[in-house]
Symmetry: D3
Subunit: 192 residues, 6 copies
Amino acid sequence: MHPVSRFPIPELDTLPEDIRTRIVEVQEKAGFVPNVFLAWAHRPEEFRAFFAYHDALLEKDGGLTKAEREMIVVATSSLNHCHYCVIAHDAILRIRSKQPLIADQVAVNYLNADLTPRQRAMLDFAVKVAERSHEVSDADFAALRQHGLDDEDIWDIGAITALFALSNRVANLLALAPNAEFYTMGRAPGKV
Amino acid sequence: MHPVSRFPIPELDTLPEDIRTRIVEVQEKAGFVPNVFLAWAHRPEEFRAFFAYHDALLEKDGGLTKAEREMIVVATSSLNHCHYCVIAHDAILRIRSKQPLIADQVAVNYLNADLTPRQRAMLDFAVKVAERSHEVSDADFAALRQHGLDDEDIWDIGAITALFALSNRVANLLALAPNAEFYTMGRAPGKV
Amino acid sequence: MHPVSRFPIPELDTLPEDIRTRIVEVQEKAGFVPNVFLAWAHRPEEFRAFFAYHDALLEKDGGLTKAEREMIVVATSSLNHCHYCVIAHDAILRIRSKQPLIADQVAVNYLNADLTPRQRAMLDFAVKVAERSHEVSDADFAALRQHGLDDEDIWDIGAITALFALSNRVANLLALAPNAEFYTMGRAPGKV
Amino acid sequence: MHPVSRFPIPELDTLPEDIRTRIVEVQEKAGFVPNVFLAWAHRPEEFRAFFAYHDALLEKDGGLTKAEREMIVVATSSLNHCHYCVIAHDAILRIRSKQPLIADQVAVNYLNADLTPRQRAMLDFAVKVAERSHEVSDADFAALRQHGLDDEDIWDIGAITALFALSNRVANLLALAPNAEFYTMGRAPGKV
Amino acid sequence: MHPVSRFPIPELDTLPEDIRTRIVEVQEKAGFVPNVFLAWAHRPEEFRAFFAYHDALLEKDGGLTKAEREMIVVATSSLNHCHYCVIAHDAILRIRSKQPLIADQVAVNYLNADLTPRQRAMLDFAVKVAERSHEVSDADFAALRQHGLDDEDIWDIGAITALFALSNRVANLLALAPNAEFYTMGRAPGKV
Amino acid sequence: MHPVSRFPIPELDTLPEDIRTRIVEVQEKAGFVPNVFLAWAHRPEEFRAFFAYHDALLEKDGGLTKAEREMIVVATSSLNHCHYCVIAHDAILRIRSKQPLIADQVAVNYLNADLTPRQRAMLDFAVKVAERSHEVSDADFAALRQHGLDDEDIWDIGAITALFALSNRVANLLALAPNAEFYTMGRAPGKV
């Protein structure tokens, strides 16, 4: 197994200012640098585009809670067997949901997880976009609207799924390893 | 979600003596009663047959270590999206391997996990038995023998996979929920 | 092709008493020893557990007829391309149903077989448990109840399917060959 | 289940002369009229084209024996779960091979059947044409030539597979039922 | 890539009279000889059977328009990744429908193409026959009848799909190359 | 069918300056505004991130030609049945390769297309990343290096595939329609 990535990890001080700043910020907040930042920094333009896309979809306010956005990431990354994405976003989901068990449940089989009917509908749709997006139909939109999701929410569900279709494939290409910290973060109930 | 199982959970004192004894023993050892014991006790004859099969394959000595036997369980139960089996045997694998990270790695994508070549060959074969056992050929046996595995080891790999093909399906039939304890057991390095 | 199994077939007189007795009994009843008994006897503990599980599910009374239990075996073993299980249980199904044609129909495509609506629902569910048990839902239980099947019957359908998920995989691991007798047993209408 | 076909079965004396003659001939030879003749006669032009194609590929001399041609039919029709084709051609294969067991073996799992290496290679290729013909490559031709098959034999293997890709689909469209006679024909060793 | 076919292309003047005539006729009409005629002529009997079947289903009058028949060919040949069939029948569909865009739409994803509900139902059924014909049920017939399709139309949809299940496989076996003319035919709106 | 997208198309003069400028530039260059620009403009931040990612991978110099980059887009978008992506990038591939036939070949079945061995290896890898990225191994890298591709080229192949895993899913979510211009662009040999 590659320690972090199949590709070179740049030295922090060789990186463009904006990328270095982003990495320092996340380190201060999380206490460590998630490997996804180091690995993507090998390609600065792709780094900027990826995290811009990420922030636009995962850090925004809107109809979906931040925990629900992470559920989409975990459920679809698990289908793609993405080592980094499942372990890292399991941790983020535990923290954002303040429910220490839900992430592992969604990763193994969201159909048996402790979800609201709305969350279940949301993940059914995300899985459809992940696996057979060409079958998405107006009827799917109608079904989601019955759970109080509007068209902007549906775009978000689909686009988050699509973004992780990208990041799962890149992470698997790199054999990107999750930091050891992610495995245990947020496992104590109600804590981060 | 069903709290433990879709089927009734018998009262302990209504159970046959041998089953009650087994349950009390596991409780004393683990500190709690894993739900698999309670759920299967709804059918005493099947309880006895299942745990007899289980002990014959998982608790025996032989060419495979106990941790390697658990890897087979985790890798194939994950393919079958068995909520109970993945969460519970992740915990047992962490404890038996004394490696806190390996279980999640095997559950998400054993192809990217920190395994020896022999373990990788073992899991390749287990996955073949789990998904397309009718394609097993003498050539598969020859490949495993090159990793120092003998025919009895190969039987063990195949039979463990087969036993969990059974238990994954029953657990999914029951919507068997893992005990909360399993999610965190063995996550501290070198501890149980 | 291996004559009976990829693994050694023990001499009858080397076997533990209970196993030898069981084999002698089946020989007296059937007129020959089905190879499954000889092959599993290589592992006495697994032999005992397997046939205990088998008898608990296939030989019991209950809401499903014995022929219906065999239909489940044939339909799901066919999906798993299990040479031994399809040929042997085709024979048993012909005998138990007293319908010489139904077994081959179920083996090729149960969707086109001469079944009652209840049997069709039963096999639809068995196939779901065999192929994607993680999708089993409360709605499946409700659908089966509409055909007069109760929860114990549903456990039976699921558990029989699960047991043959095990035995199909072991039989394929062993390349277990069906006895020549099975191919023609029960083909004359109303006879055994 | 439909007795013979979802579509009307024409009266023999309303059929065009050539079709009636063909049906009478097969009846005299086999002792009954296989349902495929009655069902296809609903469309006389398609009847003529189908049996012309059939005779050109199945009744010809050449590098493949007639039994080998039937093995291709059975192996690929089984993948397509074609009730009529598997039951009827199992019978024809038993008769043409004079081996009463081989047909059921090929129908369940040709990978475990009593075949020569050449027959195994032939069926591997047929299954590839049946399931993913777009992946056929020059390397497949080279592999078959190593078993002494020439390009005309390879065309035959592929074209027989293709013809039954057609007939399996039409038979399934019609829910075409096999005649009861087929189930038992050729089961006594060396007899027809 | 093979220029036309993996198999020999016969000289026109060595061909039987009826086949030569057919080829000359199509050349006069189309301005070139589609490679399918040259490639199949390697086997005169199969040539006659194939084009007889083809004409019986594609050139007939009936409930389906000729453009609709071609849609079935394009949608199902695309699933089979048949190079020749998709490129050639895309052209024929453009010409017969007088809609220059519809063919590419159907080839990529008929679920998003500009179709009437009846055409959509027709292609849903064709795809089912192409991919899992053993699941065709009386309910499928009922659904098609609701779109005004009668049983003869349904036979046509199924049989056209079945014929191209054959021709896709043969064309892929041959690596049959489409003539360059097909790529651009009928792309100007309303023209041929 | 939705004329352009399931979601609203913003008026050009309501868009942020940078996005309007980009759209005007592409219109001047291409003679029309490809619908992908209009549809993504509904979400300006995602628009910027997507086209930044796109330009970083598709417009750069490097070991892969621009035509080869488009081949990757066409081959993998076809697997995802993405209407917009296949039709639009077929056109771009025709133009960039100056080969009017190659794009349709790659879209239907790249295994039968007129490719160099290096291009074939490149697309084999892209398809693996698209469909089962978790199986990517060091052996795949070694195989690509044998065709003269270095690690940066391999990143490009994987990342282009990943980017279109995203864009195929978003385009299918939107039911994004290709502009009519794309269907015929670049079909005359050597012209644009």
